[in-house]
Amino acid sequence: MSEKKINIEQEVMDKIHHDKIAMKPKAYFILGSIAFFLAMVSVVVISVFFSNLTLFAWRVNCPMKYQRLEMIWASFPWWAPLITIVGLIVGFWLMKKSELSYKNNFWLIIAGLLFAILTASWLIDYLNLNQLWLHRGPVRGLWQQQEFIGSRGVGGCGRHLR
């Protein structure tokens, strides 16, 4: 081992002296941390957005509920919960990759994150904040479809708007 030991030391130092290896600047790591933080925030925002959209699409107030349910089933934006799930998986992967989880209980962090996402989604739904983007973006088509069905008198269904 002694000869190998000397080789390790000498070879590493030779590489440093001959500028074959160099320390990455501090900014690299700061930017990395910022990127990670932004990615996590994006995952949470996207998850909240799409889980809220899922709740929004399911929320019906209608006497002919089952017929309505079939219609909604046919037009339900399945990509929304799918993106939520993908978002959560990416978020968990990012957390596992980072050093956030090794000192803490990973499953507790996941439960906390899930709880935060679901609570935020429910709050947005409850406080009707989704009215802000009701007539825009991906929800618009769904909204118009519901309005159209309602106007044709299929049980007078519509969203239960507060």
Binding site: K4, I8, M13, K24, N105
Partner: protein
């Protein structure tokens, strides 16, 4: 080069980062043997262990400014060595699984724990037969004398998992050794 024995690892790292890169030699000197031995017990291949150890020190140097000085440097270094060794093991799994190097396992703590098993070659053989995740944790705990907290940092697993895995590893070790006898 002056005498840096009184400096702890984290102080030395601070000097390497801000003042003199040559001081990295001191860090390599402190850990090269330990890292080599740790990697060797995972890979059981001298040449590959040297390469992996060298890569460990190179990676540590390149990422030195990313090291958080409030943490323990040795755990960080072992973490890099662990990643490198596991990657190497996965790359050459077939080849490395069949390496049979008779390296005595000199450690009083370990020997005391396995007092019934006197034969060091047998212990060595049993270790080799163990799944890597149990083998590695026994090495860290008994040979490298790492605490639960340090092992949890190196393996990035909660301390409870580390304790449970050590206990399981000891059982597996005894079972394998008894079967061999």
């Amino acid at each position: 080069m002056g005498d840096f024995n009184s400096y702890n690892d984290e102080q030395l790292v601070e000097l390497v980062r801000n003042e003199d890169q040559e001081l990295y030699r001191e860090i390599v000197k402190r850990y090269q043997e330990k890292i080599w031995r740790y990697v060797f017990y995972i890979l059981r291949d001298e040449a590959k262990s040297s390469d992996v150890s060298q890569n460990t020190f190179i990676k540590a140097f390149v990422n030195l400014k990313g090291f958080d000085n409030r943490r323990k440097f040795s755990s960080w270094l072992y973490r890099i060595a662990h990643n490198e060794a596991i990657n190497e093991f996965k790359k050459h799994k077939k080849e490395l699984s069949f390496n049979d190097v008779a390296e005595p396992f000199y450690d009083s703590g370990f020997m005391a724990e396995f007092d019934a098993i006197k034969d060091r070659e047998l212990i060595n053989h049993c270790l080799q037969k163990m799944p890597i995740k149990y083998r590695e944790i026994l090495i860290l705990f008994y040979l490298e004398e790492k605490s639960y907290t340090e092992i949890s940092e190196i393996l990035q697993a909660p301390a409870g998992t580390v304790a449970a895995r050590i206990s399981r590893a000891k059982k597996i070790m005894k079972e394998i050794c008894q079967r061999k006898k």
